[in-house]
Amino acid sequence: MTVPARRSEATRGAGSPVLAIDRVRVAYPDGPDTRVILDDVDLSVTAGELVVLTGPSGAGKSTLLTVAGLLRRPDSGEVTVAGTPTAGLSQRQRTKVRRDHVAFVYQSANLLPSLTAIEQLELVGHIHGEKASGTTARARSLLERVDLAGRADQLPVELSGGERQRVGIARALMASPSLLIADEPTASLDPERAGAVVELISEVTRSEGLATIVVAHDAWAEMHVDRRLHLDRGRLSEVGPPAGAAAQRA
């Protein structure tokens, strides 16, 4: 099976399902029993759509993200990313699809301690095999976009929590992904900084035409989303868009 090249304009088009999860099941052995984490879950996220996923602790939200981000193979079902069904792909092919189409934003930014802000982004270009000169220019431009142009040469330890998270978002954008997966990106931030991060994720989802899934507990964050999904006991249910979503988008 061949793996398509990095995201093309075709997959960016509004309405295209960038992520399609079809009847996915994940279960773990739990002593003599089996614990079902995801039970025949279906999910489709289109380009430019921001979906928030909520649910109680242990409901399987992170597991769903790992399945959607091709970090874990489900026990059954199909995960299609940017038009590529992945169930039959080898590990190497799945890594390539992930490299070309998926990016993550983490709860604690997950920056590499020995790299400056700009190098965090350049590393992505290096992993993609891009030339250093072009990578640096693009990284600088992305840092400008997240309002961190003046902090490009700072190490993570020299950045505030909000700045680290914005570097993490810029790093995710550096991969030119089709699918952005964010796992509680505002959990460790104070409300003011959290608001800025939510605004930023919302803005890049629209402007870049990303399909974005965010796991979040914060009720206010839902004001910026298209759909709200709830995961509980392995079952995914649509709660619907929050009341102010249309106004926010407008």
């Binding site: 970090l71 983490y106 796992d183």
Partner: protein, 363 residues
């Protein structure tokens, strides 16, 4: 090695301990290599300097002069072979007590025919052809021995003058001395030498040319390097040194492998993150191995340089150390190769890291 280089540059303290350990092992390896070379030189440099290709010794002598006694008939077998020069060689260890106030000496005494190919200098030929006496290794001149000093040779009634000095050299850790074959026989066999000597030194000819005469004479042939094994302690010393160096290399590999394994465990989440970002396992492995290659190379080169300085300082005294460029380079290359082999021990852990841990999910 995008990440490896920056990690090394900004995490100097983290890598310092391993770098120092590798450098110290490299210092020790360099000093041991120099000591091994020095001991070899001290053991056989005199024999190595003699211009022969092969030695014929009595069967069962195992290259040891003291176990070999030959007579003229053995020499006769080789003298008729085309393209081969053959000459008798006497070799023994003697104590020489000064009768003129100089230092007493332990000598590796070689008895040679003055007109043979073993004596290349005309002045030495002249000296050995005249009255009985000793031509000594030049380093003895530095120890206060002078031409004209007289030495009583243990085990004989002879008191021999120092006739001159020749090239520096030792055999069995004793400075070499030359005397005429007649004098050597008189020292070792008294009034009944019966043409006895230790070995036949051969120049020219091939194994095929010499195999027949050797068999007829009942002797065994040794190349020059094979003959070194007969130097007292030579095999034991070189084997011991090689073993110590081998152990050091194994220790290096284990230390480096253990360090990288611990580092890999500490970096598990970081490796997971890189995998989640789409880095292949080979990309991460190249980065980790490259980092170790740089660290091991720099630390080894620093250690070898420091070792060379130490050898130079120690070598100016009485310790038999000698820097050998090939041996020193060999130490450096071996350390780097062994370091990389040790580093490879951490690779399975890198392969095993599951990218799900980047999201804080247990593997």
């Amino acid at each position: 090695m995008f990440l490896a280089l920056r990690d090394l540059r900004r995490g100097v303290r983290r890598f310092l301990l391993l770098g120092v350990v590798i450098a110290l092992v490299a210092v020790l390896s360099t000093v041991l290599s120099a000591l091994a070379t020095g001991l070899v030189t001290d053991g056989i440099s005199g024999l190595r300097a003699l211009p022969f290709d092969r030695l014929a010794l009595q069967e069962g002598a195992e290259a040891t002069f003291s176990r070999s006694t030959l007579r003229g008939d053995a020499l006769d077998r080789f003298e008729g072979v085309d393209g081969v020069e053959a000459t008798p060689l006497g070799a023994s260890f003697v104590n020489a007590a000064s009768t003129s106030g100089g230092p007493n000496l332990d000598l590796a005494l070689f008895g040679v025919a003055p007109d043979s190919f073993l004596v290349t200098r005309d002045d030495a030929r002249g000296a050995l052809s005249g009255e009985p006496g000793l031509v000594l290794a030049s380093e003895l001149e530095d120890q206060g021995v002078s031409v004209g000093d007289r030495y009583a040779i243990s085990g004989s009634d002879l008191v021999l003058p120092v006739l001159g000095f020749t090239f520096a050299g030792t055999y069995g850790h004793a400075p070499i001395a030359f005397t005429s074959l007649d004098t050597w026989q008189q020292i070792n066999f008294g009034g009944d030498p019966d043409e006895r000597f230790s070995a036949v030194a051969l120049s020219g000819g091939s194994d095929d040319d010499l195999a027949g005469p050797a068999s007829e004479a009942g002797v065994e042939l040794y190349t020059k390097s094979e003959a070194y094994a007969g130097s007292p302690g030579f095999t034991a010393e070189t084997t011991t040194m090689t073993l110590i160096q081998g152990f050091l290399l194994v220790i290096s590999a284990v230390v480096i492998g253990a360090f990288l394994t611990v580092l890999t465990v500490q970096r598990t989440r970081q490796i997971g993150l890189l995998k989640a970002m789409g880095a292949s396992t080979s990309y991460i492995a190249r980065d980790a191995l490259g980092q170790m290659a740089i660290l091991v190379s720099v630390a080894t080169l620093c250690g070898v340089a420091l070792g060379a300085v130490l050898v130079t300082i120690v070598g100016s005294g009485d310790v038999p150390v000698e820097l050998n460029p090939t041996g020193t380079l060999g130490v450096a290359v071996s350390m780097i190769v062994v370091g990389l082999i040790g580093s490879a021990a951490a690779l399975p852990r890198i392969v095993k890291v599951d990218p799900v841990i980047a999201l804080g999910v247990e593997q």
